[in-house]
Symmetry: C2
Subunit: 243 residues, 2 copies
């Protein structure tokens, strides 16, 4: 498998989506001789799928690739079979996951990524769906049919945009409290918090953690002190966790 799971799309100073991780994306797409990039734009709610596809194309304009949107495919499953790489945009995780299930695309994407080794790049919601379920998304469940199981590329839960700060005067649960609640109800699982500007990179049997701004990954387990892992670390160990 080749995965690049980005916490978010842009950090301060970026003008293009995925800009902070473009060297890593370029390395994977070059190594895998990628020609046809398929954008999965279904998480996008407040702008158009076409616009988001164009934003991805702009980010990849230094590469000799064709970039198309899955929403434009007459036969989405065939488009997935023809793709050399996937880029899955952020937005609303619930809408993204439900759309993939509704269109019958979970299986074809899993097959492409895990069996044929097609590289998968996702940011925010696009990273969260790489987990067994989307239960640790921060997004509001804006759909009536809330579907939690997802792509299961990795065996742990992902919390994107991870941050341990709180808004002054806000008495609702903090992010850490929400993750703790998840672990109380799901005591054998791990939640991996990836802060803004960071990503998990799976290449073959190895997973590393990278961060453009040097922020650490946070590994949460029930009744254990959280483990902070520095950028540049090998985190292959996490791929062996129970899902």
């Amino acid at each position: 498998m080749d995965l690049l799971l980005l916490s978010n799309g842009k950090i301060a100073g970026n003008t293009k989506v995925m800009e902070f991780a473009l060297p890593a994306i370029t390395e994977v797409f070059t190594r895998k001789h990628v020609k046809n990039v398929l954008v999965i734009p279904y998480a996008v709610i407040r702008s158009s799928h076409d616009d988001r596809t164009a934003m991805v194309a702009e980010s990849l304009s230094h590469l000799d690739v064709n970039v198309t949107g899955l929403h434009r495919a007459e036969d989405p499953v065939e488009a997935i079979r023809q793709a050399d790489a996937f880029v899955c945009s952020g937005g609303n995780t619930w809408v993204l996951n439900k759309t993939l299930h509704d269109l019958g695309l979970i299986g074809p994407i899993q097959q492409a990524v895990t069996q044929r080794g097609v590289p998968y790049v996702g940011w925010s919601a696009g990273a969260v769906i790489s987990a067994p379920t989307i239960r640790t998304t921060n997004d509001m469940c804006i759909v009536s049919a809330a579907i939690t199981p997802s792509l299961s590329f990795v065996p742990f839960q992902i919390n994107a945009h991870y941050i341990d700060a709180t808004i002054e005067g806000h008495m609702g649960e903090t992010r850490d409290e929400r993750i703790e609640e998840f672990l109380v109800v799901n005591p054998h699982q791990s939640v991996i918090g990836i802060p803004e500007g960071s990503w998990l990179a799976v290449s073959g049997d190895t997973m590393t953690y990278e961060a453009a701004n040097g922020k650490p990954l946070h590994w949460f387990r029930l009744n254990q002190e959280r483990q902070k892992i520095q950028a540049g670390s090998d985190v292959t160990e996490l791929m062996g966790l129970d899902g």
Copy 2:
């Protein structure tokens, strides 16, 4: 119906849960001659149901009432039938709603509140479940079976702990952006944001909006400027919205 839907449990300076709304609770419980208060504690994850029930009892200690926890009832449906009032604690909305569905308590609580006029007081998650669905909760969906339909005492969606501030450096969606996404996907619905320290009070056919700290209610509709409504206002109009 008699409802008191509190945004949250405590504001700065409070030592007891529901403290900022105790005059309103006392008025309702006295007017309705409440003797048996049934606490619905299922939202609580990080402390015990017994502890939470005791916290509610402490808040109501100035009243001559018996306070018991629904989790202790041998026959929960019978306990609901015997209750003179409900107090539903905050915590995780997904766990609360799923538990009420799993135990078959949605119907009995609806019957008690809407047919027999048993007062219902809820804060945070306990307020959110008064809506047709819990889709506008801020909580993480920590359960695998995500159930969205809920008690439907009111026809609009509730966003508790409503706040329009953001954390500096956080690139995830703001609260307002999340609510906007909800409206794009559900264009005929309204979301009512109730800030910390505020509550909606339904008495008979009338609904008013109150706030201990004077913060306004926010009424969100698609493609319309949000409407801010001041504390002390009659908001019965909202009870006529499409659900």
